[in-house]
Symmetry: C2
Subunit: 276 residues, 2 copies
């Protein structure tokens, strides 16, 4: 594991590391923000999952989350969004292949070899983080768009593993929208029964843990009606009594200006659970 960036930020350090991932079979970058409190003992970790086309850089340069993490004594880990490298399968489109891992384990050729972002984010990365950095095993999850989908799915599939979960502009029902249909067809094959394990709206019905969901959605989001459709999640939650706080924000779009505007409130939400 090699540290490739090291920058003082908000009283702590915004670092980027590169390591060889066994799960993904390639070298991966991840970002970690260590707040000043990490110098005095282990701190909890918020994992941030980014959206389509992103790398580990987008969140750390644009969201302005570090000052809130420093206030609350929380580390933030932001992985890349897919396996990387010349021998990793790719597609010319922005919404398939590199930059579009969808936080699942692919079963179909040519993707199955490397596209295992679910195992990477749930298992390999936290094991590495918890072995090598001054952090506790208190974990939280958040993410944006494709990464909001990832945060919700990872939390719903792993009861007890995360103290809290939130999402910005998530793809709440990938089985029912074009981005998800395209990716799931490629990565998982055409049998839609296999898609349900990777769809937050479908998973709600079977959730054994009623972990409250915090979802932030801009009403000026250009992808709202076609790709995101938060009311599908709302309906699924209402049907089984799963707690959901869905904040619909007039005017806000799909960009990091939206994330930066509300990331402080989300870090507060996670801090309450992580320090409880």
């Amino acid at each position: 594991m090699e540290r490739i960036e090291h920058r003082a930020c908000a009283g702590g350090w915004q670092d980027v590391y590169r390591h060889q991932s066994v799960t993904l079979g390639c070298a991966m970058n991840f970002a970690i923000y260590l707040p000043p409190q990490a110098e005095h003992g282990p701190v909890p970790v918020l994992y941030w999952l980014s959206g389509l086309t992103c790398t580990e850089q987008n969140f750390i340069t644009k969201a302005g989350a570090q000052r809130y993490a420093a206030e609350h004594g929380i580390a933030i880990v932001a992985p890349d969004t897919s396996p990387r490298g010349d021998d990793v399968a790719d597609d010319a489109a922005y919404d398939l292949g590199k930059g579009a891992g969808f936080y699942l384990n692919a079963t179909q050729a040519p993707w199955a070899n490397h596209y295992r972002m679910y195992d990477y984010v749930v298992t390999e990365l936290p094991a590495l983080i918890e072995a090598r950095f001054p952090v506790s095993q208190a974990r939280a999850l958040s993410g944006h768009s494709m990464g909001g989908h990832g945060a919700l799915v990872l939390a719903l599939r792993n009861p007890g593993r995360y103290r809290s979960v939130s999402a910005f502009s998530p793809i709440v029902a990938p089985s029912q929208v074009p981005w998800g249909e395209k990716a799931f067809n490629a990565y998982l094959g055409p049998d839609q029964a296999d898609w349900q394990a990777w769809d937050a709206t479908a998973l709600i019905a079977h959730a054994t843990e009623r972990l409250p969901l915090l979802v932030e959605q801009g009403l000026g989001d250009e992808f709202l009606e076609k790709q995101l459709r938060p009311t599908l999640l709302q309906t699924a939650c209402d049907a089984v009594g799963h707690p959901l706080q869905l904040n619909l924000r007039p005017d806000y779009d799909h960009s990091y200006y939206f994330i930066a505007s509300f990331i402080g409130e989300h870090v507060d939400w996670h801090a309450r659970a992580l320090h409880a």
Copy 2:
């Protein structure tokens, strides 16, 4: 004037406009953040001047200043760093020509035609902003690196025009460092007497207004000793009793992680002067 970006942010709007500049003889982009208070009456304006290689985008996407501007009811205007377009002279180096206007009026060929960022930022841009947006004539100045130089020089040359000035990692004495020597030779010619009017450290001795300077400098800045040299400004201020608050911050580098870490304190500083 055409609005080319319009994004909800921190309760207000982060916009980008494109207009034809008479001073520069080319089309220019500028960013303007309008806080929620601008819907109810005129708000003061902080002008932000960016550093080498930047456009109007860097500050608005990376500094996280909007939430502080929204708290204090301040608009922020961020212009581009040089004239632009195919018929504007340029140089292959990053520190001359496009992206490197140095906030001066060039006198030498081939630069004199378009490189008049001083007149643009001091006169044309505020006239446009004050005519077309809900802002008052209370103005403040800040900037980073080359833009920190610009902020200090513009304030020192225009007593009474700005309520407050601050700078991050400024080139305080361009006449004495490689970045400034190269640019001033090209834009102003070899006579160093002509450089003094564009050098904050030189201007301090003749300042007729004792406007307090707030300067933020990281001690981990890779350009500190060769290009920035804040102690030259400190010495000049001490010699004449010009008020300077020079904050030297251990570990911080030249990046936007530094700016993002302290921009809130700078907006506070400007807010006190703008709302006084």
